[in-house]
């Protein structure tokens, strides 16, 4: 039963495989080879797993063998299933859908039902009602935290090309609570403050002005225009269209309305630019594109403009007042992030 040295790995394996049945039923250690005995049936103790073998090389060997066997079995079942499907043809059962975290999302009780009257009334009379009734048109003030660096300044400039009727002002160390009454007197409807940390923008405060809610977001993945590959030319003066995706809960509705109120409300829009706020798993992705319909079904898009990702940290009633303001929603990581399948927006 002994082979000469220099055999290939498989040969070695076969040698071991041949010698395996000769091993006695040792409790933990099946590693010792005894040479030249009649093959016996392998008898591992019950509940023995490959990880209990102390010898690393042998353990690795057993594991790779087990893995190959698993793979073979998996392939065999796949083939069998495929054959059965072909055999059944049209009567085959539908393919099972793979589970994703979005699929498995825990049903949120605050998901808004489109027929809900109370919510409809609430939205018809909240702080954004005057915007949605076309009584006010947006005028935005964009500023940053004090002493911004180049990236933040450029992001502000690019944002002001994306959002129509917006003005960028340098924040000269002024307190927000002092800026806000001045904005209100000059008829601004929204205030955007981009917070910066270590030369990169990392936060966004969006405050609706007369007395509206203030949302505080964490901003990440900021890409300025020159960092975007295959981008189109600069955005023009046309008012962009807006797409708000996936804001299903009551909180999501409020935030969605906040974003919508940044842009002029005009269903008869001209121009082919579109700003998208896509919510997925509580992260809001902002993208700015120009589209063109090549035929009835085919659209071409070019990405222009900055892109960033936002995550809501808190929504406060009233204008910016972090110490004494009343919060409508606060993100509490230890209470809200315990379940991977539960989202709030």
């Amino acid at each position: 039963m002994e082979k000469a040295g220099g055999s290939r790995k498989k040969g070695l394996k076969r040698k071991r495989a041949a010698e395996e049945p000769q091993e006695a039923a040792v409790v933990e250690d099946g590693a010792t080879d005894s040479g030249g005995q009649a093959p016996k049936a392998t008898a591992f103790p019950p509940g023995f797993s490959i990880s209990e073998i102390k010898n690393k090389q042998r353990r690795h060997l057993m594991f790779t063998r087990w893995k190959q066997q698993q793979r073979k079995e998996k392939l065999a079942t796949k083939k069998k299933l495929k054959k059965e499907r072909e055999a059944l043809g049209d009567k085959a059962p539908p393919k099972p859908i793979p589970k994703t975290i979005d699929n498995q999302r825990v049903y949120d009780e605050t998901t808004v039902d489109p027929n809900d009257e109370e919510v409809a009334y609430d939205e018809a009379t909240d702080e954004f009602a005057s915007y949605f009734n076309r009584q006010t048109s947006p005028k935005i003030l964009i500023t940053t935290s004090d002493r911004p660096h180049g990236r933040t300044v450029r992001l502000c400039e690019q944002l002001s090309t994306v959002i129509p009727n917006s003005h960028v002002y340098y924040r000269r160390g002024l307190a927000l609570k002092r800026i806000i009454p001045q904005c209100i007197s000059r008829d601004f409807t929204d205030l955007i403050v981009i917070n910066e940390d270590r030369k990169t923008p990392n936060g966004l405060i969006l405050s609706h002005l007369p007395n509206g809610p203030t949302a505080h977001f964490k901003m990440s993945s900021v890409r300025l225009r020159k960092e975007i590959k295959r981008k189109g030319k600069d955005p023009t003066e046309h008012v962009p269209e807006i797409i708000l995706n996936n804001f299903t809960t009551r909180l999501g509705h409020s935030i969605g309305r906040m974003f919508a109120s940044l842009f002029p409300h005009n269903p008869q829009f001209i121009g082919r630019q579109v700003a998208t706020f896509h919510n997925q798993r509580d992260y809001i992705f902002f993208r700015f594109h120009r589209y063109i319909f090549r035929s009835e079904k085919k659209v071409g898009i070019q990405e222009l403009g900055p892109r960033f990702t936002l995550k809501l940290r808190s929504l406060q009633k009233g204008t910016f007042d972090s110490k004494y303001g009343e919060y409508e929603w606060v993100h509490k990581p230890r209470e809200m992030d315990t379940n991977r399948r539960k989202f709030h927006l």
């Binding site: 009780e109 808004v112 009633k317």
Partner: protein
């Protein structure tokens, strides 16, 4: 059907759109009641209290300065009364001996004769309490005694049958370690049972106990919790502790004997607007700006019991817990998961009831 539904509601919540909701915790349903049949923001509820005759009537103070009376037996609004005078919303509502006590934001406290006529007669008594009132509370043991407090308006206890001067006027604490005056902002007041003491919670995250019987006008005990303004407070059944809530949705139980924090309750995501403990059982109902009514169990063990989503901004909301059929109903709170079924039925114009079934959350289990 509506009457039976109205009587079996355990918790009553007022909302910012003027709807009074009665929540039946056992069946996990909420019933809406509006005076005019349509929700209106002008009727935003700012104060709730029980009316005369045990717990059969609810008085709702609305933002348009009317006080509406709602009967829980019949399940409809019975009448309203316009209470002019002063500016601001109602900060306190109370009833004693057939008279109605109202207090508004600008500090006008009035006692009205409670007749069924809608005409607003002159008030029986008017007191000026000082501007910026945040709360007026009636002493349950002595219905003629009320306490008021607010922003830069120190705690004052008034006896409505006595003189025009307050019976007890609290003094501000000493200057702090920088020799600066400590600002005052009393957000909520409660009378402690079986003594003359009062507890207040302030917007500067302090909880203070005052004792009018002692010669000291300054607080007898002061405890702090958190960093955010405390907006609501309620006494626990034992009488030794209070539960306070702040603008971040943090609820804490503070022991008044030592001023210690006993524990916190989690679950709320928005500012707490109303808290109410059951008179005998260790259950706490809380509602806030996140539009969800929660019932927590305070001891053995501490945890969330129920969650109800009325989908309405429950902003100026207060709760009145009913305990008539309470015992067997509160004891049998089962975890029945039901699907949400919005079901609308329009009845004869006076009110609008809607039944909804709630799904019990699985994540925070007691």
């Amino acid at each position: 059907m509506a009457a039976a539904g109205a009587r079996w509601n355990h918790v009553w919540v007022g909302t910012e759109t003027g709807i009074l909701k009665g929540v039946n915790l056992q069946r996990k349903q909420a019933a809406n009641f509006t005076a005019a049949g349509q929700p209106r923001r002008e009727e935003a509820v700012s104060a709730l209290c029980w009316g005369a005759g045990g717990e059969t009537q609810i008085l709702m103070g609305c933002a348009d300065r009317t006080v509406r009376r709602f009967s829980t037996e019949e399940g409809r609004f019975q009448g309203q009364r316009h209470c002019p005078g002063g500016e601001g919303t109602f900060r306190g509502l109370a009833q004693v001996d057939g008279t109605l006590i109202t207090c508004v934001d600008s500090g006008i406290l009035r006692v009205w004769r409670d007749n069924d006529k809608e005409t607003s007669s002159d008030p029986l008594l008017e007191l000026r309490v000082g501007p910026g009132v945040c709360r007026m509370r009636q002493d349950p043991a002595h219905p003629h005694v009320v306490a008021t407090g607010g922003k830069e308006n120190a705690l004052k206890v008034w006896d409505l049958q006595g003189s025009e001067e307050p019976v007890f006027r609290a003094k501000n604490v000493r200057n702090d370690w920088l020799d600066l005056r400590v600002p005052i902002w009393d957000q909520d007041i409660q009378f402690l049972p079986e003594s003359q003491k009062l507890v207040t919670c302030t917007g500067y995250h302090q909880v203070r106990v005052y004792d009018p019987a002692s010669p000291q006008r300054r607080p007898v005990l002061e405890a702090t919790y958190g960093e955010y303004p405390l907006t609501a407070m309620t006494l626990t059944p034992g009488g030794n502790s209070v539960i306070v809530g702040n603008t971040h949705g943090q609820l804490a139980e503070i022991d008044l004997r030592q001023g210690r924090l006993l524990g916190c309750l989690k679950g709320l995501a928005g500012s707490v607007r109303g808290l109410q403990c059951h008179p005998s059982k260790p259950l706490l109902a809380s509602c806030g700006l996140d539009r969800i009514l929660r019932v927590h169990r305070i001891r053995n063990p501490r945890g969330l019991e129920h969650k109800d989503e009325p989908q309405e901004p429950q902003e100026p909301s207060q709760l009145s817990s009913e305990d008539t059929e309470a015992d067997e109903l509160w004891a049998s709170l089962e975890a029945a998961a039901k699907r949400k079924l919005p079901d609308l039925e329009r009845t004869s114009g006076a009110f609008q009831t809607r039944r909804r079934k709630k799904k019990r959350p699985g994540s925070t289990s007691p």
